[in-house]
Amino acid sequence: MSQEHNMRRVTAIRNGTVIDHIPAGHGMRVLEMLGINKRSSVPVSMVMNVPSKKMGTKDIIKVEDRELTQDELNRLALVAPDAHVAIIRAYSVAEKLTIELGDEIVNVVRCTFSNCITTNPREPLAHRLKILSRVPLELRCHYCGRPQDLDELVNNVL
C-alpha cells in the first residue's frame, strides 16, 4: 500500500500540521503530549497502524488550522523522536520540521520520581531531564538523578 494511499485515508488539509512517521500505537500519546484533547476545538484526524516502508506500521496525525511550533514539536522527542512534521499552507507543504533533541529536555515534563524535589509545584526552577542515550531513549532527572520511565513520563507533561 503506497504512502500516497495512506495520506488519503483522511482528507488533505488546507492549513495546519501533518505529523508522519509516528511509531504505531503512539498517536494518542502524541496528541496528549501536544495538549490536543477533548477541549481542543481544531479538527484533528488520526490514522493508526497504517503500513510504512521504513517502520512496518505507523500512525499519522493531521491537525487543521494550527501550526505547531518547534518547541511544541520538541516535546514529541519522548514518544516519536523520528517523526516527520510538515506545516501545510493552502494545501501545500510550506515548511518541513524535524524534532530537535538536545542534551536536555527542559520544562516539558516533570520527573516521575515521587520524592524528587521538583514534585513541589511551587518550586520555581525549570524541570530538567538529561538525555543519556538517544536510541533507546534514556533520561535522568537533572536534580534527583533517577532514570525516567517513558510510559509514566507521558502522564507528567507540563
Partner: protein, 313 residues
C-alpha cells in the same frame, strides 16, 4: 562557585588532595592547634531533617577553623512550615552566609539548591540520593587504615537501596579500582541505575545476599542499618535484619588489617562484642567527619591549607 553535590563533582586527584589536607588538619580537629583559616566566614547549616553527626561535625569543623555558623534551627518553627519553597529559603541563606551545608528529605534537593544559590552547597544527604561529605570521611578512614584507596576489596552491607552513604561511597571506590561486594536482602538491593553506572565505569561488582561469605578476603566491611519501616511486616524485618548482624565470632577468619565501618547510628547490626576487636573503626570514622569536613570547607571556600601546620600532624 560549585559545591559538592555528588562525588562526580570531584576528580580522583581532588579527592586525594583534600584527604592530604585533612591529614594535615588533624591536630586542629583534635584541638591541639588553633588555626583560624576560616575567620570571618559563615557556614549556614540547613538541616531540614534530623541529623546528629553531620550537623555537629560541620559546626565543629567550622569553629575549629575560626569560622562561624548560623543554623536553620527546627524546621517546625522556621518559615519552611509556613510553606516557603526551598528556592526562597536558599535565596535568603545565600545572602547571609559564605557556604551552606544542607540535608533535605527530598532527593535532588541539594542540586536544586546549588542551581538556586551563588555560594557553594555541601550536600549532607538528599533523600535516598547522595551523601558525598560522608564519603570523604569514609575514604579518609579507609586510607588511614590501609595507606591507600586503590585495589581494595570492600563489602557494602545492609540497606543498599535507601542508604545514601553507600550510593556515594560505591561510586568513589569504583573510581579507585576497588572490588565491591554488595551484600543486601533482595528488597534492599542497590538501585539498578547505580549498579549500571558502576559497571559502566568498569567496576568489579558482585551482588549477593550472603554477608559472611566474603568476610575472610575483605579489606573493608561497611555496615549500614536496616530500617524496620522499610518492611511490610515485623516478622520479615526480623528475619532479614538477623542475617545482617556482625558478631565478634564472625571475624575469626578475617584479615588482620580488615576494618569494619558504619556511618552510625547503629542498632543491632554490629554487636558490642565487635567494639573491642582490632577491626572496629566506626568511632574513629565518626571523629573523621570533623577533619574531612574541615578540609572540604577550606577547599570550597578557596582557602589553602598550609603545608606545615605543626602540632604533631
Amino acid at each position: 562557585m560549585p559545591g559538592l553535590i555528588t562525588m562526580d563533582d570531584l576528580s580522583n586527584e581532588e579527592i586525594l588532595s583534600i584527604l592530604d589536607d585533612a591529614q594535615r588538619l588533624l591536630p586542629v580537629a583534635e584541638g591541639k592547634t588553633y588555626l583560624p583559616l576560616l575567620q570571618g566566614k559563615i557556614l549556614g547549616n540547613l538541616f531540614f531533617e534530623p541529623s546528629t553527626r553531620t550537623r555537629m561535625s560541620f559546626e565543629t569543623a567550622m569553629k575549629r577553623l575560626g569560622g562561624d555558623v548560623v543554623n536553620l534551627g527546627d524546621v517546625k518553627t522556621s518559615s519552611v512550615v509556613k510553606g516557603e519553597t526551598l528556592f526562597d529559603t536558599i535565596q535568603m541563606v545565600d545572602g547571609y552566609t559564605d557556604i551552606i551545608a544542607m540535608r533535605h528529605p527530598r532527593q535532588g534537593a541539594a542540586q536544586y539548591a546549588q542551581d538556586a544559590a551563588r555560594v557553594p552547597i555541601l550536600n549532607g544527604g538528599d533523600g535516598a540520593g547522595h551523601h558525598p561529605t560522608q564519603t570523604m570521611l569514609d575514604l579518609f578512614t579507609i586510607q588511614q587504615a590501609h595507606g591507600r584507596l586503590d585495589g581494595l576489596k570492600v563489602i557494602l552491607a545492609g540497606d543498599l537501596r535507601y542508604g545514601r552513604t553507600v550510593h556515594s561511597l560505591s561510586h568513589a571506590l569504583t573510581r579507585f579500582g576497588c572490588e565491591l561486594i554488595l551484600a543486601s536482602p533482595s528488597l534492599l538491593k542497590m538501585p539498578p541505575e547505580i549498579v549500571a553506572d558502576l559497571n559502566a565505569h568498569g567496576a568489579n561488582v558482585t551482588e549477593t545476599e550472603d554477608l559472611l561469605g566474603s568476610i575472610e578476603t575483605a579489606d573493608v566491611v561497611y555496615m549500614t542499618r536496616i530500617q524496620k519501616e522499610r518492611f511490610a511486616d515485623e516478622d520479615e524485618y526480623a528475619k532479614v535484619a538477623g542475617a545482617y548482624k556482625l558478631h565478634a565470632s564472625n571475624l575469626d577468619g578475617a584479615k588482620e588489617d580488615m576494618i569494619i565501618m558504619h556511618p552510625l547510628p547503629r542498632v543491632d547490626e554490629i554487636h558490642p562484642s565487635v567494639d573491642q576487636t582490632r577491626h572496629a573503626r566506626y568511632f574513629e570514622q565518626a571523629f573523621n567527619g570533623v577533619v574531612a569536613r574541615m578540609a572540604l570547607l577550606c577547599r570550597l571556600l578557596d582557602v589553602e591549607v598550609p603545608a606545615d601546620i605543626g602540632g604533631g600532624a
